[in-house]
């Protein structure tokens, strides 16, 4: 019986979702998935933009070049540092901010509105703003540190290969921590206050309450936000590109930046694509983890 009703479902009801979905699906197919396949295809070819007629199949040559390329390994190592410092720093600062915003104080609404400003700024503006702050001659950071007697002479933060990457990491931490704060705050507000009441009746100290109620209650949000952030921080190259362009030398290269610069400046689209594909494959683990978490919630 139920089978026949399913078949007798009005035609419009079966067709309508297809009609409504197909524009979005077809467009994303055309502007996302086909170009991606094309990038994979390009990575197996010698393709330099100033010789557009030479599109020779070279198999895995670009990938072998990458493995033997010291810049590839430098970029990869720096990508790891980049993620391993930026994401935890953003999370810690975000957690502290969220815990503070979850308290009651008179100007809480204002603080909550202001703290998210970095997130809404264009990354070019953020990058240039921080280049100005880090400026070795007139930058406010050097000025401040000199006045406080913390350094003896100005440090060229972005021109010194030892500090450039870390200076950019600070900038990205500044840009990204509000996202964590907002996510964690929403998570905090979903923990029932009765848990805390019960715990304080039982005499649990604030620290114990934090360890045994707050942290477990936040674990889902923290996991999701961290995965999202790892993926986004790994992908974000605009701030680095504007601040140092990867330099001095290769000292602030990350893998996606290397791929981008190789194609944009070197016009070497074959090798650039191969680097981009390598990076994507490495990132895939995090993406799959995230999709599995998100997939569970689809209703």
């Amino acid at each position: 019986m139920s089978d026949t009703t399913a078949h007798q479902m009005p035609l419009s009801r079966r067709i309508l979702p297809i009609v409504m979905l197909s524009p979005a699906v077809l467009v994303t197919l055309a502007i996302v998935f086909i170009p991606m396949v094309q990038a994979l295809w390009m990575s197996f070819h010698d393709y330099v933009l100033f010789r557009p007629n030479n599109f020779d199949w070279v198999g895995l040559k670009n990938y072998i070049t990458a493995v033997n390329d010291p810049v590839f390994w430098t970029s990869l190592r720096q990508t790891a540092i980049w993620i391993a410092i930026t994401v935890p720093a953003q999370m810690l600062l975000g957690l502290v901010t969220a815990l503070l915003l979850n308290q009651t104080f008179p100007w809480r609404g204002l603080a909550r509105a202001l703290v998210i400003i970095p997130w809404a700024l264009p990354s070019v503006v953020i990058a240039l703003m921080w280049v100005w702050i880090y400026d070795s001659n007139y930058g406010v950071l050097n000025d401040l540190l000199l006045r406080l007697d913390l350094i003896k002479s100005s440090i060229p933060w972005l021109a010194d290969p030892d500090t450039a990457l870390y200076a950019i990491i600070l900038t990205l931490t500044w840009q990204g921590f509000p996202f964590f704060a907002v996510m964690i705050l929403a998570g905090l507000q979903s923990i029932p206050s009765s848990y805390y009441e019960a715990a304080s009746i039982d005499g649990a100290s604030p620290l114990r309450q934090f360890l045994h109620i707050t942290l477990p209650g936040l674990s889902g949000v923290l996991m999701t936000a961290t995965l999202l952030r790892v993926i986004w921080v790994a992908n974000s190259i605009d701030v680095i590109y504007v601040m140092t362009g990867g330099g001095p030398g290769y000292s602030s290269y990350t893998l996606p930046l290397y791929a981008f610069v190789e194609a944009r400046t070197g016009l070497n689209y074959g090798y650039g694509s191969a680097l981009a594909v390598c990076f994507t494959i490495m990132l895939l683990g995090f993406v799959v983890l995230y999709l599995r978490r998100a997939g569970k919630n689809i209703t």
């Binding site: 419009s12 009801r13 079966r14 309508l16 979702p17 409504m20 979905l21 979005a24 699906v25 994303t28 170009p35 094309q38 390009m42 502290v96 503070l100 308290q103 104080f105 100007w107 509105a113 202001l114 998210i116 400003i117 970095p118 809404a120 700024l121 264009p122 070019v124 503006v125 240039l128 703003m129 100005w132 702050i133 400026d135 007139y138 500044w174 509000p178 907002v182 996510m183 929403a186 889902g220 949000v221 999701t224 936000a225 999202l228 992908n235 504007v242 996606p256 791929a259 981008f260 689209y269 694509s273 981009a276 994507t280 990132l283 993406v287 995230y290 999709l291 998100a294 997939g295 919630n297």
Partner: protein, 277 residues
Amino acid sequence: MMVRNQSKVRRVLTVDLPMALILLFTLSPYIWMALTSVTQESKLFTEGPSIVGATLENYTRLFSTIGFGANLLDSFIVAGGTVVFGLGLSVPAAYAFSRFRFKGRRLLMLQFLLINMFPLVLLILPLFILMKTLGLVDTYIALIIANSTVAIPFSVWMMKSYMDGIPRSLDEAAMTDGCTRFGSMYRVVLPLCVPGIIATGVYIFITAWNEYLYALTLGGRQVKPITVAIQTLIGEYQVEWGLLTSGGIVGAMPATLLFLLIQKRLIAGMTQGAVKG
């Protein structure tokens, strides 16, 4: 009385003060930029930025000499176009996801999520080649299409979760009253979705407005959005920081204002998925 005062002092020390420090960290770069932008170029390197003798000279130069107005217009067209294109495609798709159950639904939804996770660099290289082949480099269409790669998947998800919040009984009531499925969507669900559509539209606008790498790669002389224009203010030999920072303030203004306007709804939309997770 004593006790109350004591607890107030404690609150100031443990909550207000740390919060103020975090806000100082958050806002001081922005304030420093604003301060630099109103300082005369000649005084900048001798006395440093200051509010004393503030001048709008940098801003007037930005528009009169550099022609920033044209760049603002470019950004408006690209961001506005992305909003229209992105919403036009994603609202019907979100409705289908929210109201129908069909084969492959889960997979298609995950597909939209997956797109947002892919590295931009993997997409930007082939898109440039594609646009070059089609002769679309340096046109609005190229940038609108590129920005839509981000906008469509995000707004499908955001709109779907908004529509899920509108009870299905409303559509059903409309249909028993003689509305067609399409009529019930058009007359009942869509009007109720207006706040969600506005929030999603604003989000698309902000991300498209702030976007830089696509604008740099696919734009050019004809179409030069504000983000690229700001960056090109860095001269070959010396940087005019007054000009650059005023450009930064102008470029950041629309997105910041829009964001502050619809902040609450936007944050609710953004965090919903994560809290459930």
